[in-house]
Structures are given as C-alpha cells and as structure tokens.
C-alpha cells in the first residue's frame, strides 16, 4: 500500500520526476515506476475497452434497427418465393450423386444449385462421364462450419 501511494505521488510529479542520469534508482523509485507505469497502461487501455465497447453496443443496436427496417421493407415489397425443391438439370442420366437430404434453407438456393450444376457439368466434360445432380444439401465440416467457410479460412491463413 505504501509503495502504491509512493507510486501515485511519483506520477503526480510526472514531467520528469526522475533524472535520466540518476544512478542507481532508489527502491521506491524503481517500484513506483514499475507499478504506476503498468497501472497507467492498463487503466488507459481499460478505458478504451469501455469506450469502444459502448460504441460497439450503440452501433450494433443502430445496425440491427436498420436491418430490421430494411428486412420489413423487402418483405412488404417482394414476398419470398417458395423454397425450391427441384433439382438442377444435368447433361444426362448417369451414376447418382450423394444421397438425398432435406432441401437447404438458403435464400439464394437457385444460384447455389446453378453453380454446383455448372461445376458438375465441367467435371463431366473433363472426364467424359455424365453426372446428374439429384439433390443438394449443406455439408457440415469440422466444428460445424460449412465446407466453403472452412476452405475460405484455410486459403486465408495458409500464407501464414
């Protein structure tokens, strides 16, 4: 406690309370600088935590309100189309793709199926075998992340 008080008084004198030439430092001075210095750094950054945290909360609520408003408007203007159950066409009947599963809930399901079908078609051209997409379902990778997300993350961190 005594050291803390001395550290505090040392800081109040800041503005060069210890001469740069002074050698050696007294016990009070060395402990004062150590404790007060670390304390100030932690206090300054803790204050930043608080301020940035509050700003984050404010912005989160603003963003959430704006998103909800936009969603409401979008829902009013264009009601969602029914989920697509159909399966994209493929070049020709052939060995089946993975087993069927429940339809994915994604909003842009059509585009995803089109992209997958295009890739399958390319593969089909490349190896001379014809495939048919029977169903599309999201595949879970490790730790519940999608295979796309996992692959993207792998690509991002691979240079490191």
């Amino acid at each position: 406690m005594d050291t803390m008080l001395k550290a505090h008084s040392l800081l109040l004198m800041a503005g060069g309370s210890i001469s740069g030439d002074q050698k050696p430092l007294t016990n009070d001075q060395r402990w004062g600088v150590t404790l007060a210095g670390l304390g100030i750094v932690i206090a300054a950054l803790a204050l930043l935590v608080l301020v940035i945290f509050c700003f984050g909360k404010i912005f989160d609520s603003i963003n959430a309100a704006e998103k909800a408003k936009a969603d409401r408007k979008a829902a009013e203007k264009a009601p969602k189309p029914a989920a697509v159950k159909a399966v994209a066409p493929a070049p020709a009947p052939a060995p089946a793709a993975p087993a069927a599963s429940p339809a994915p809930p994604a909003e842009d399901e059509d585009e995803v199926i089109a992209v997958i079908s295009a890739v399958v078609a390319m593969m089909s051209e490349a190896d001379g075998t014809t495939y048919r997409v029977k169903s599309v379902r999201p595949a879970s990778g490790f730790s519940g992340r999608s295979a796309w997300a996992m692959d993207g993350r792998r690509n991002n961190v691979s240079p490191f």
Partner: protein, 407 residues
C-alpha cells in the same frame, strides 16, 4: 630518390584501411564488427530475416566500421552523437556532418519513428480490436515486460535513462524503442546509444518465432491451445472511422507524451478508413515508408561502431532485451489464461502472447500454435486484436516512461 619513394609508400600504408585494421589499437574490433555486418547481411539475404531493415542496418554497420581513417569524416561522426543537443550542435551537424549524420537527425529528432507509425496506421486493420475490445487488456498486460525489465535493469545499477531505453525493447516495437531511446539517451548520460537499442529490438523482433513458441507451450495446456473462439462480428465503416479519433483523444488526454506516436498511428488509420484519401494512403504505406525505412536503417546501422557494441553494456542490453521480450509474452499469456478462466473456457490463451506488438508476426505465431493443437482452429483474427492493441499499449508505455524520466 629511394627515400622519397619509401616515404610515399609509408604514407600510403599508414592511411590505408589495412594499417587501421592491423596496427591501430582496437582494429580487431572493427574487423569483428565487419564480420557481424556480413552475418546480418547473410541473415537478411539468405534467410530473409526482416530484410527490409536488417540489410540497411547491416550496411550502415559495415560502412561505419570500415577502418579507413577519413571515411568517418565523410559519412558519419560518432563523436557528434555524444554531445548534448543544442542549436550550435545542430548547426555543426548540418554544416560539418556527413550524409549519414544528416540522415541520423531524423532518428535523433524523433521524426522517423512517427512517420513509420503513420505508415503502420495506413496498413493496420483495427477491425478485430473494435469487434473484441477486451483485446486491449491483453495488449496492456503484455507491456508488463517493459516495466518488470525496468525494475531488473535498475536493480543492476543502471541509470534511469538506460533502464527506460532497455525496458522499452520489451514492447517489441522498433519505432517505439528508437523514439524512447533517442529521447532518453543523449550520449552524455550513458555508454548506450539508440543504435544499440534498435539493434537489440529488431534482432528480437526477428526472433519472435524462436522466442515465443516455447513459452506458449510452457504456459498453456494442449486443451487450452485447442480452444476455438467464436467468429468476430464485422464492425461498420463508421465505427472504423470513429475508432482512431477516440483512441487519439483518450490517449492524448491520459498520457500526452504518447500523443505523437499514437496520433500519427491513428492519423494514418483515419486516412485509410475514411476511404477518400487513396493517394495519401498509397504514399504513406509505400513510398514514404520505404524512404523512411532506408534512412532509418542505414543511419541507425552507422551508429553501431565497434566501441559502442563490443562492450559489456551491449551484452547487458541483449540479455535484458530478451528477458523483456519473454516477460511481455508471459504477461500476455497469463492474463489470457485468467480471461479464459473467467469466461468459462471461451478465450484461447494463445492470443495473449500476441499482445506484444511485433505486428503481424506475433499473431501468426498464435495462429500456428493453435493450428498445431487443432488444425481446424483459426486464431489469426482473434490474435490480431491483442496484436494491434500491443502497438497502442507500447506507445502508451513509452509515453509513461518519458513522463517519469527527465530528458
């Protein structure tokens, strides 16, 4: 006739570099330093250890240790930098100094570190820190290395200026080390100089992948290292624009002496995040950074003369420097472990070691160690938060040291 010829040959011999090496007292020291310079060049070129800085530093070291009597007059005057700064001194450097003397003014007057911080600001994404502000605490804890090393150096009987200059190496931030040491060490109060401090700081920054992993494995269990952290939210553009302004305001109000470093860092970041100063951002992160890096590297390298480096004091700097670095890493890991315990196992302690600056190397090490424990663990962005917080933290710590120690 023969005598004249012999006199000419003797004169040539006595002014040659070989004479300086073989006959002059301490010539062997210069030879050793040239060997060290070649070793650093090898590390930079072959092993690519921080080549952008190590190569200019090593060439500056090479130049200032060449045993040619007149070269010192031509390019660098070691004696100038042992004098207290004054108007007369400044005039002497500008009038009589060599090229490297004039370039070194940018270090001595703390111009280069601030410009480098400007460039770093334009290259830094504070998004992970804004998304997870708790990372600031890890950046603060890792500065423990600075202050505990200050304590150790003072116990060894060093002066306050020396303690502060050595301790700041623990911040793992080259420009900050140069900034603090160039203010505190004026040549008259110490045998140390900014060049030796910078050399130690950049050496240890290059050795982050060697120093940190054993400590990380020592202080964490495999289960802790495998902890997966939830994905961070994406901060909005407005938040990213407001962030540098808030940080500058808070830091400048609390620790004014850190204002120039943090101010320039945040100014660079504001230029980047505003999205309306593409040309300035491009200049700050490319042309300006490159020019300053060249000037800084070669002029700091030139200060590492044999007399400055080959002595016991430099050995102490290197020893205390590595201790500072290790302590900083350990303090960050320790706080991260506490935060993990408090959060009920949601924070991977490995991100704590990234609280020392060394951007982005320290964050990469956290990522690598996390991936070793579990290949599906992605800690990079989580570690970037403490990592960039460490830059701010070390600048604040520098400000505290400069506030307390008179210079």
């Amino acid at each position: 006739m023969l005598n004249i010829l012999l006199d000419i040959l003797r004169g040539l011999w006595e002014t040659s570099g070989l004479y300086g090496l073989i006959v002059t007292d301490g010539g062997w020291k210069q030879l050793v330093m040239i060997g060290v310079a070649f070793f650093f060049m090898y590390l930079a070129i072959v092993w690519e250890f921080e080549p952008l800085l190590l190569l200019p530093i090593s060439f500056g070291m090479f130049l200032s240790n060449l045993p040619v009597v007149n070269i010192e007059d031509m390019i660098f005057h070691a004696s100038y930098w042992n004098e207290p700064q004054s108007v007369e001194w400044l005039w002497k450097v500008l009038h009589d100094g060599g090229l490297l003397d004039k370039l070194y003014l940018g270090v001595k007057l703390q111009i280069y570190p601030c410009l480098i911080f400007l460039g770093i600001g334009t290259m830094t994404d504070f998004g992970p820190l804004i998304a997870n502000p708790k990372s600031f605490l890890l950046g603060a804890a890792a500065q423990g290395g600075i202050f505990f090393t200050f304590l150790m150096a003072s116990v060894l009987g060093m002066s306050a200026a020396e303690c502060g200059s050595i301790a700041i190496i623990g911040g793992a931030d080259g420009p900050t080390s140069i900034y603090v040491s160039s203010k505190l060490l004026d040549g008259a109060n110490s045998t140390l100089n900014t060049g030796t401090i910078a050399l130690a700081a950049y050496t240890y920054m290059a050795l982050v992948p060697v120093i940190q992993p054993p400590l990380m494995r020592l202080m964490t269990t495999k289960k802790e290292r495998a902890i997966k952290m939830p994905q961070l939210r994406t901060p909005s553009k407005t938040e990213k624009i407001i962030f540098p302004i808030i940080v500058t305001l808070v830091v400048a109000l609390l620790v004014p002496s850190a204002g120039s470093l943090v101010g320039m860092l945040m100014f660079g970041n504001l230029l980047k995040e505003s999205g309306v100063c593409a040309r300035l951002v491009d200049t700050a992160q490319n042309a300006l950074m490159n020019i300053v890096t060249i000037f800084l590297g070669i002029s700091v390298g030139a200060t590492t003369t044999a007399d400055n480096v080959l002595n016991l004091e430099f050995g102490k700097v290197m020893l205390l420097g590595v201790i500072a670095f290790a302590l900083g890493t350990m303090c960050g890991l320790f706080l991260a472990k506490i935060m993990n315990w408090i959060s009920g196992g949601k924070i991977n302690p490995l991100i704590g070691s990234a609280g020392v600056s060394a951007v982005p190397m320290a964050a990469r090490i956290s990522q690598k160690e996390g991936a070793k424990a579990d290949p599906t663990n992605f800690l990079l962005m989580h570690a970037m938060g403490p990592n960039v917080a460490g830059v701010i933290g070390s600048a604040v710590a520098a400000g505290v040291l400069l506030s307390v120690i008179a210079y």
